[in-house]
């Protein structure tokens, strides 16, 4: 236990479509104030959104690096067009560390060191060994992984870093069809980026009035925030090295501080959850996947 690597706090890629200025201000504040070690930047959900942030991208990367943050460039989760493939090639050619969210990116990387993102299925030690043998230095595990599997995949011998999302709505699926456009009776080609209306996504209820899912363009997420504050110590002991916060339209600097305090043993999980509640409004918390339960479950302290 004494040789355990330090626990790194990361900020995952922004999944939602925010105006460029809002994104820029968000990341500059992260650079200045958030106790995160790594920031993932890039469009994971829809390539139509990419150009919006482009003018500010270089400035944000520079400010994050100047603040001592590791910057990782994330790629699309579902790649289908030649233009999207070209964008991956351009990104990889820049030479920064890349998070591969589609196997296409693994092919383009051709063995160069990279992070395997949560949208590429690495569910077991066989898949782990394969990707590690082809350049993966860090694997962000699929959100569905239970703790028992995480423990097994944790690679204490090979030294592959493992990352788990510990805060924010959990991505459940990606599609070709845009559900934001559908909800607004628009076609995908004429969506006018209507997903930008909802900085934390659009709630989908069941027909009997229960908030159940969050729509984010072509992506579907949980309605509840995934919250693993009470499980952080267990994940640290199990060999998870990186802990991902998924950005939402709330005080992410404070969210990061709360997680940093628990990772460093300054605060206990239950107290941290109480500190988090005022930041997240009425959105419920979920942690069922980690406990091998339905993902929407909330398993309290055993």
């Amino acid at each position: 236990m004494s040789t355990r690597p330090p626990s790194r706090l990361t900020l995952g890629p922004l999944l939602f479509h925010w105006p460029a200025q809002k994104r820029r201000d968000f990341y500059l504040r992260i650079a200045d104030e958030a106790p995160v070690d790594t920031v993932y930047l890039g469009e994971v959900v829809c390539s139509k959104r990419e150009s919006v942030f482009a003018p500010f991208r270089a400035e944000v990367i520079e400010r994050l690096r100047a603040a001592g943050k590791e910057v990782v460039l994330s790629t699309l989760a579902l790649v289908t067009t030649a233009r999207e493939v070209d964008e991956i090639r351009t990104l990889v050619a820049e030479g920064s560390l890349v998070e591969a969210n589609d196997v296409a990116c693994l092919q383009v990387l051709a063995g160069r060191p990279h992070v395997v993102g949560p949208y590429v299925n690495v569910f077991n030690e066989g898949a782990r060994d394969f990707v590690a043998g082809h350049g993966a230095t860090r694997i962000v595990l699929p959100v569905e992984m239970p703790a028992t599997s995480i423990r097994t995949v944790a690679d204490t011998v090979g030294g592959t870093e493992l990352e788990v999302q510990v805060f924010g709505r959990l991505p459940l699926s990606v599609a070709m069809r845009c559900y934001h456009a559908r909800a607004h009776n628009r076609t995908k080609d004429h969506c006018q980026l209507v997903c930008g209306l909802d900085p934390d996504g659009l709630t989908a209820e069941t027909v009997d009035g229960v908030d159940i899912l969050t729509i984010n363009g072509t992506q579907t997420l949980t309605h509840g925030h995934g919250v693993l504050l009470a499980e952080l110590a267990m994940l640290q002991a199990d060999g998870v090295t990186h802990f991902r916060l998924s950005p939402h339209d709330l005080d992410m600097v404070r969210v990061a501080s709360i997680h940093r305090d628990v990772l460093d043993g300054r605060c206990d999980g239950a107290d941290a959850i109480e500190a988090l509640r005022p930041l997240t409004g009425s959105v419920p918390y979920v942690n069922g996947f980690l406990h091998g339960r339905e993902g929407l479950a909330w398993v309290g302290r055993p």
Partner: protein, 330 residues
């Protein structure tokens, strides 16, 4: 069959369905073992190793090939059933295995290099570099393309990768990128990716309430129907949800995929094989759908216009679509 128009790949959920598909004119059948190693792990379906051996013998005697789907993702610490399934498929003389997991692909490549490997739709390879990755690392000979592509996109992939492709021709419309959809486990705790069952029947309930029927998956209501109205099976992507105050089939209308009218376009796109879905369907269903496609393909191979088969009664919701093939869900 060197002048085959398109290879007809048909579902064999049971040994009886295998014989029905072969007898109705399948060029190839696909099946899986009776456990979590395949993506249709439903009660009463699938094969044990002896049944597979018998099935291979029956099919081969009639000029038909057998593919074995081992296309779920092993749970960490329990890869043995997947490795064993690959060994047993090889031992039974299967013509190919259909795989999705990087670890299982790696195992099959190293331990059974001579056993032909196809890439399952569960691997969600929807672009040329992904397909090339599986081709280069695992010598995959054929890729089953995700149901999210248009015919034009399919043609581009065939041209760029030079690999055999198999596309869905009849069954359901899957809007989500398959193999990485966690909606069902979000609602039930059972994982389609690891346990091979989306919306397992054990978690489905129909509840009568105030003159209507609620269909539920786990504790979540996915739809309501008037009593007596046929209630579609509650798969999460086929439920009705309320957004912006309006209830709708947000992900997918209750329609079935039927590509029988666009077979010449698929042929022109360079597609090798057509997949008929339905390992969970009856022997009679399999015989009817396979028979209709056999007739159409034979007519096309002779340069004739195929007869119009009435299959719409068999599609989900009784309505048909070309899915993504025509417009690619733009």
């Amino acid at each position: 069959m060197t002048d085959r128009y398109l290879e007809l790949v048909c579902p064999a959920g049971t040994p009886a369905a295998l014989r029905a598909a072969v007898d109705a004119g399948a060029d190839t059948v696909y099946c899986g073992f009776r456990d979590c190693t395949n993506a249709r792990n439903y009660p009463g379906l699938n094969f044990d190793p002896d049944e597979l051996r018998d099935g291979v013998a029956y099919a081969r005697a009639r000029g038909c090939k057998v593919l074995v789907a081992i296309n779920t993702f092993p749970r960490a610490g329990n890869q043995a059933p997947w490795h064993r399934a690959v060994d047993q498929a090889a031992a039974a003389g299967a013509d190919a295995v259909i795989l999705a997991d990087l670890g299982v692909l790696d195992y099959a490549t190293r331990h059974h290099p001579a056993l032909r490997r196809h890439l399952s739709v569960q691997a969600s390879a929807a672009n040329a570099p992904s397909i090339a990755f599986y081709r280069d690392h695992f010598d995959v000979k054929r890729v089953v393309l995700p149901r999210v592509l248009s015919v034009r996109e399919v043609a581009a992939l065939v041209e760029e990768t030079g690999i055999e492709t198999e596309v869905f021709a009849f069954g359901s419309v899957g809007p989500m990128s398959e193999g990485r959809c966690f909606l069902s486990s979000y609602l039930t705790g059972l994982s389609p990716t690891s346990e091979g069952a989306c919306a397992p029947a054990s978690h489905v309930a129909y509840i009568d309430r105030d003159g209507e029927v609620l269909s539920r998956l786990g504790s979540t209501t996915l739809n309501t129907f008037a009593r007596g109205e046929p209630a579609a099976y509650p798969t999460p992507c086929k439920g009705r949800y309320v957004t912006l105050g309006r209830a709708s089939y947000l992900f997918e209308e209750p329609v079935g995929l039927n590509a029988i009218a666009i077979l010449p376009e698929l042929k022109a796109a360079g597609v090798t094989a057509l997949k008929i879905e339905g390992r969970q369907r009856s022997r009679a269903y399999v015989a009817q759908i396979v028979g209709a496609f056999r007739q159409a393909l034979d007519a096309l191979a002779r340069g004739e216009t195929p007869p119009v088969a009435a299959l719409s009664g068999e599609t989900e919701g009784g309505r048909e679509t070309f899915g993504a093939y025509q417009k690619g869900w733009r």
